[in-house]
């Protein structure tokens, strides 16, 4: 035990040799399990999206590990130890935005076949909006990876000695050293696994994770002497499910509501490419809805107990037996400390391995998703700009798969470097809260207004990104700007308004976006006047240069508060006018099928024709190979009648074994019918994509 500062006690060397053997064995087993499913990657589509084939239950369980990992046991146990059951708050406040997600964002991203969020911005607005969205999204996702690495490092550190000797040299075990080691393992795994591997390892880990978390809870309660003793020992304030309204500044309800319940929930559902790619891996939009709903209704509340209970047990132990758990234990270490006390050797290793591996899975998911953003929004646009020959699709796909693997390595490295920004926060929870408050609002607002408001223009979205960020930077320089939104929360000068900052940031981004969108008529007038001027090019270049200058001045705060605000307002005007002038925008074409108001159109675009909504049966068929080039499947007339299908409708066929969760399946199109009932004819490409085994019965259903 070590005193890390005047008040807190830190631990090292927790665990036994048996625990280490169990942990290493667990990690090897999980990596082998994941690598087995790596063989299902036949293209970048499979590598990133798993081929849009899985059943809802498989995705719902695979998300457990992602959810638990990202809202990790380290930070929630820490908050449980400091504040009690209110550590569960952030797991049970996601429902408010579910209608927007299930019937707005999810169908749009699936039906428009976009591969990344920035791609949506290009189709809905303009390439420049996509460029800015890519920058913000990469910041967001790499920041998320950094938080994941920081958490992993903090979980592993108490298990390790303070130093070790190798070849006669003494090495200190540091947080950054541990993180770099973990990053190497994570990078290797994700580079060779891909999305299918991540989904399946997460599926396995989701189940083990819930088991390990509840095992810890039962062991802890038993260690205390039973549930009644555990319940009675905790002070009433510790048992309340929501924190105090506005105190203390490091953990209060209203700040966390805006930071996590609003910015975080929307960010997690709408911006977290890792999660979105999971939903896109389901076989249909409806399966995606089921997966999301099941996860939020049942898995998240259970996960809240899994991740927080070590802190609650730790609190109870610190009251009943302070010698066992000192009340001043470092909060981020409480999980490891409690798990070690209440479990026996081997069991402790298993709990640690299960929870750490799940966290690693989350980081894997995010690295995979960030690589998808890189390929789609950086690599491909650059190749297009350089006019690289992309006529050979298979060759292009192979080269992109290689680029995806290399980019995973670079992203992992950037994630490790990002830890330097967050490591000085007192807890991972506060670091994550600050991260969410600061990075999510511009993209959250842009996605929301773009998706639900047809009048939201490219000028408005670009100004939201630039002007909104400028006003957010202003509040970083002058935190007193946030005070009108503080709900009575005291400002901590070291980390001013970690959480409620989200409300200010959301407000300024919405205000900028809505004001610019409502000023479209005036902006068009201004752009028209510039166009009609004989000095139009000089004027517009001057305005763009002024915008760059103003943003630089704001970034480095060269002036005082009133000047900074004036610069920000001027920047909003110059960016809005120049965007209106420079961006070509067709309001009808660029909203059709891209907003919630035209989801039906998006569905028609997806199918490439009129939608057949008649509900048909799911049938069983045997498959036979036939030589043809088209991507179609040939069923009999009677079978098509049972499915209420017509030629040209979309079909989904899948191995009959339900426990495979759609792993062996494929989407295609109904071809002209034949007369052999119970038989489907397919070509070699579809057989390979579906990984169908000779003699196995398939199920077939009309998709739309």
């Amino acid at each position: 035990m070590e005193q890390i500062n005047s008040n807190l006690e830190s631990f090292h060397n927790i665990g036994t040799t048996t625990d280490w053997v169990v942990m290493v064995a667990y990690f090897i087993a999980v990596m082998l399990f994941g690598s087995y499913f790596g063989r299902y990657n036949r293209s970048t589509k499979d590598f990133f999206f798993g081929g849009r084939r899985f059943a809802w239950w498989l995705i719902a369980f695979s998300i457990v590990a992602t959810g638990v990992g990202s809202h990790s046991f380290v930070k929630y146990s820490a908050m449980g130890f400091k504040n009690g059951f209110s550590s569960t708050m952030t797991y049970i406040n996601d429902w408010f935005f579910v209608p927007f997600f299930l019937f707005g964002w999810l169908p749009i991203i699936v039906y428009t076949k976009i591969r990344s969020i920035p791609e949506y911005f290009e189709r809905r607005f303009s390439p420049s909006a996509r460029f800015l969205a890519t920058i913000l999204l990469l910041f967001y996702m790499i920041g998320y990876i950094s938080i994941g690495f920081l958490t992993l490092g903090k979980a592993a550190l108490p298990l390790l000695p303070e130093s070790f000797s190798l070849f006669g040299m003494e090495f200190q075990v540091t947080l950054m050293g541990v993180i770099i080691f973990i990053a190497v393992i994570t990078g290797i795994y994700i580079t060779f696994g891909g999305q299918t591997a991540v989904i399946f390892t997460d599926l396995l880990q989701g189940a083990i994770l819930l088991f390990a978390g509840f095992l810890l809870f039962f062991l802890g309660v038993a260690h205390l002497g039973g549930f009644d003793i555990f319940w009675d020992i905790l002070p009433t304030e510790w048992k309340l499910p929501l924190a105090n309204f506005n105190e203390p500044s490091s953990f209060n309800f209203v700040g966390i509501f805006w930071q996590d319940g609003v910015a975080g929930s929307v960010g997690f559902l709408f911006m977290n490419m890792g999660l979105i790619m999971r939903f896109m891996a389901t076989k249909s939009v409806d399966e995606g809805r089921k997966a999301a709903t099941f996860n939020i209704l049942f898995m998240l509340p259970l996960s809240a107990i899994v991740v927080g209970n070590a802190g609650w047990i730790g609190k109870a132990l610190s009251i009943s037996n302070p010698a066992e758990v000192p009340p001043n234990t470092v909060p981020d270490e409480i999980f490891v400390v409690v798990a070690n006390i209440v479990s026996s050797p081997g069991v402790f290793g298993f709990i640690m391995a299960a929870l750490t591996a799940a966290l690693m899975s989350t980081v894997d998911t995010l690295i995979n998703a960030t690589a998808a953003v890189y390929i789609n929004d950086v690599h491909r646009p650059i190749e297009a700009f350089l006019k690289v020959d992309q006529s050979d699709l298979k060759k292009t796909d192979r080269s992109e798969l290689v680029a995806a693997r290399y980019s995973s390595i670079v992203i992992t490295t950037l994630g490790v470097l990002g830890v330097l920004i967050f490591r000085d926060f007192p807890t991972v929870y506060e670091a994550h809260g600050y991260f969410h408050s600061t990075l999510t609002p511009p993209l959250v607002v842009a996605i929301f207004l773009g998706l639900f408001w047809k009048k939201f223009t490219p000028a408005a979205v670009i100004t939201t990104f630039v002007g909104g960020v400028a006003l957010m930077i202003a509040a970083l320089h002058y935190p007193n700007l946030i005070s009108p939104f503080d709900h009575g929360i005291e400002m901590n000068p070291e980390r001013p308004y970690s959480y409620i900052r989200a409300l200010y940031n959301l407000f300024v981004c919405v205000a900028v976006g809505v004001t610019v969108a409502l000023s479209s008529r005036y902006l068009k007038d201004a752009a028209g006047r510039i166009r009609n001027s004989e000095y139009s090019r000089i004027i517009i270049y001057s305005i763009v240069s002024l915008s760059v200058l103003l943003f630089t001045l704001i970034l480095f705060n060269l002036g005082n508060e009133p000047l900074l605000l004036f610069q920000a307002l001027l920047l909003i005007v110059t960016v809005a006018v120049s965007s209106e002038y420079l961006v070509k925008y067709d309001e009808i074409a660029q909203t059709e099928g891209l907003t919630v108001w035209s989801v039906k159109k998006a569905k028609e675009f997806f199918k490439g024709g009129k939608i057949n909504d008649r509900e048909g049966e799911v049938i069983h068929v045997h498959w036979k190979l036939k030589e043809f080039d088209e991507d179609v499947l040939y069923f009999s007339k009677n079978d098509m009648a049972k499915m209420q299908a017509e030629v040209g409708d979309l079909v989904y066929i899948c191995d009959k074994r339900k426990y495979l969760g759609g792993l062996k399946s494929v989407h295609s199109v109904f071809g002209e019918p034949h007369e052999e009932d119970g038989i489907v004819y397919m070509n070699e490409e579809n057989r390979l994509n579906g990984q169908f085994i000779p003699g196995r019965v398939l199920t077939a259903e009309k998709e739309m």
């Binding site: 059951f85 499910p241 105190e247 209704l297 039906k600």
Partner: protein
């Protein structure tokens, strides 16, 4: 006994402001036709959405009551 700021104020704020976002979401998806109440499946989803809101409000309310009086 914990103060109102500890117990019920966060609950009312959560389901008041959160509820506004939720109702806005329901109104938008219905008015836009994204959820089509003529379809059986969509009617089911609409009930799930409302039920989910009540389910979470009940979890929090019962949690507060248990903490205060149990």
């Amino acid at each position: 006994m914990p103060s109102f700021f500890d117990s019920w104020l966060p609950f009312f704020y959560l389901y008041g402001i959160g509820g506004l976002f939720f109702v806005l979401g329901l109104v938008i998806i219905r008015r836009s036709g994204a959820i089509d109440m003529k379809k059986r499946k969509h009617r089911f989803w609409f009930r799930v959405l409302i039920g989910g809101f009540i389910y979470f409000a009940l979890i929090h309310a019962l949690g507060i009551i248990a903490a205060l009086y149990w």
